[in-house]
């Protein structure tokens, strides 16, 4: 086996870090996404997810169509009052840790649909981590939102199963 030659070898051939930081690093680059797509923003999601803009470059390429296997819920498109219980069920079925992305103006605030049928922002139904505005948002905006979510995941207090939860 060829030895890897480095200019500056670590003196003791190991690095120190915090478990919290490693876990954050691992989690932010392996986001399994559940796309909850209801409307026209779905087109922009498809564009972002496919090869041209390629969400997979940031480690969020694997789409799971079961909320039990996903840890990033992408709410893409208008959520009506009738759909709100479905969205909440999907969110509750996801296992921890989980993050929610509000994709597009409709999910952020109801958008142009200020009427009897549409939920005025999905944060009324489920907690949201990142809001991506735009009607629809351009793929660059979505990627920027994803990077911000990754930054948030990296710096947050990581919750792991064997850690006893307070409360």
């Amino acid at each position: 086996m060829m030895e890897i030659k480095r200019k500056h070898r670590p003196p003791a051939r190991f690095i120190t870090t915090q478990f919290n930081s490693v876990l954050g690093w691992a989690r932010k680059y392996s986001l399994f996404q559940y796309p909850f797509i209801t409307a026209c923003c779905g087109m922009e999601y498809m564009s972002t997810a496919c090869a041209h803009f390629d969400l997979d470059r940031f480690g969020a390429g694997w789409t799971r169509f079961s909320p039990r296997q996903a840890d990033m819920l992408l709410v893409v498109g208008t959520v009506t009052q009738k759909l709100a219980p479905v969205l909440r069920t999907v969110y509750e079925q996801m296992t921890d840790p989980k993050w929610v992305v509000a994709f597009g103006t409709c999910t952020v605030s109801g958008g142009i649909y200020d009427n009897y049928a549409v939920v005025q922002g999905i944060d009324l139904v489920i907690p949201v981590d990142i809001y991506i505005p735009g009607c629809p948002p351009r793929p660059e905006t979505v990627l920027d939102g994803l990077l911000k979510l990754q930054e948030k995941i990296q710096h947050q207090e990581q919750d792991w199963r064997w850690k006893k939860r307070k409360s």
Partner: protein, 159 residues
């Protein structure tokens, strides 16, 4: 059959029920009494008129007028490539009109939509319940007197 003669024919066949006929944007319009709807439409669907297709069915709320609501039916004749619009007024106190589900299957969902949005009752409809809004929704959202900012959440919101 000459296209322009359909209105004359209807006036002749249903003298008491047809209130007014006119032509609007190239289509024939006939305004009728709501009691005559089913017999008139049955006549139109069969020969010689052959308006065999129900394109759409909707309702308009003219708040402040009497009668307040107006049902609008759009028929289409496939053999002759002609459209016909039928209008019938409905009073607020008697929001009933006969259902067309016996003649066209697609009237089922269209009438459910009108029932959902305006609260018009279709007599003879096999399954008249809400189609867009949830069952616990109160009121009829497309009526002009439905409050613009009124919200009726289906589930309890956070906070």
């Amino acid at each position: 059959m000459e296209e322009t003669k359909i209105l004359d024919l209807l006036k002749e066949k249903f003298p008491g029920e047809v209130k007014e006929v006119l032509t609007s944007l190239g289509d024939e319009v006939v305004i009728i009494d709501k009691k005559a709807l089913l017999s008139l439409v049955t006549y139109l669907k069969n020969k010689p008129c052959e308006y065999t297709m129900l394109l759409d069915l909707s309702c308009v709320d003219y708040l402040g007028e009497n009668p307040r609501f107006e049902m609008v039916y759009h028929l289409f004749s496939l053999p002759r490539n002609r459209r016909l619009r039928i209008k019938a007024r409905l009073g607020e106190d008697d929001l009933r009109i006969s259902s067309l589900t016996g003649l066209w299957k697609n009237a089922n969902w269209l009438e459910r939509e009108v029932f959902d949005m305006f609260g018009v009752h279709f007599e003879g409809h096999p399954d008249l319940r809400r189609i867009f809004m949830y069952d616990c929704f109160e009121g009829y959202p497309l009526r002009k007197d439905y409050p613009l900012r009124k919200r009726q959440p289906c589930i309890k919101f956070r906070e």
